[in-house]
Symmetry: C2
Subunit: 105 residues, 2 copies
DNA sequence: CCCAATTGTTCGATAATCCCGAACTATGGA
DNA sequence: TCCATAGTTCGGGATTATCGAACAATTGGG
């Protein structure tokens, strides 16, 4: 009875991989929602992204070590691995999340 | 008589674009060298990367707004746009540069 | 000035990656 | 059991990355 999806250990987190995962507008938005909402489901109807694409984005985030996935019935709930990220890359996530608007006007 | 290559303005810097540029092992190494050496030339013989590929990596960094290019004869000298990056994304570059080894188990 | 060597960019073809609809799996409810 | 819901996986087409080869630009030597 699997309750969580496997994920890389803290020491295995690779900076380039993490930055690559963050270097996409959709995934960046997902990370922002994780940061504000705490735990979010897989679907994101307001983002105009098909569910197969979303699923791939979540996988990219998970495999990079950014998220942890809890399985509950037929839903998956994602959370940010804030403590792990802070331990491996101090200040990185905070700096990313502190950036306000995409660019300005 | 062109002395510098055009580059995006501070307000036009996009976080996803910057993170994408940083999310590559070779470009990350180039940024590290810029941070430690101040100004570096285009060539990097010790990295096993052909010069056309290196040229593309430098272009990616420049177009993302990470670097400034000064042209001197047949050489180009790249520098990090530290102040601009700090103004637009406070703490981001420092957090990236603070990460020591790739992973080191 | 002419030529050769040096530095780096651009072009083009192959390779790798990404996107997304369709099919599939799994779970829960009627 | 049958159907609806939630997500994953598969396959192909589109996009992007890589890198050798050709090209452009500058410098130094004769």
């Amino acid at each position: 009875m699997v309750r969580t999806t496997p994920k890389p250990a803290v020491d295995d987190l690779d900076l380039a991989t993490v930055l690559h995962a963050l270097g996409d507008p959709v995934r960046l938005e997902l990370v922002r929602r994780l940061a504000t909402d705490g735990e979010v489901g897989c679907g994101a109807p307001d983002l105009c992204v098909p569910k197969s694409t979303l699923s791939n984005h979540w996988r990219t985030l998970r495999e990079a070590g950014l998220t942890s996935t809890r399985i509950d019935g037929r839903n998956r709930w994602m959370t940010l691995r804030r403590a792990d990220l802070e331990a491996r890359f101090p200040g990185l996530l905070d700096a990313v999340l502190a950036v306000s608007a995409p660019a300005g006007h």
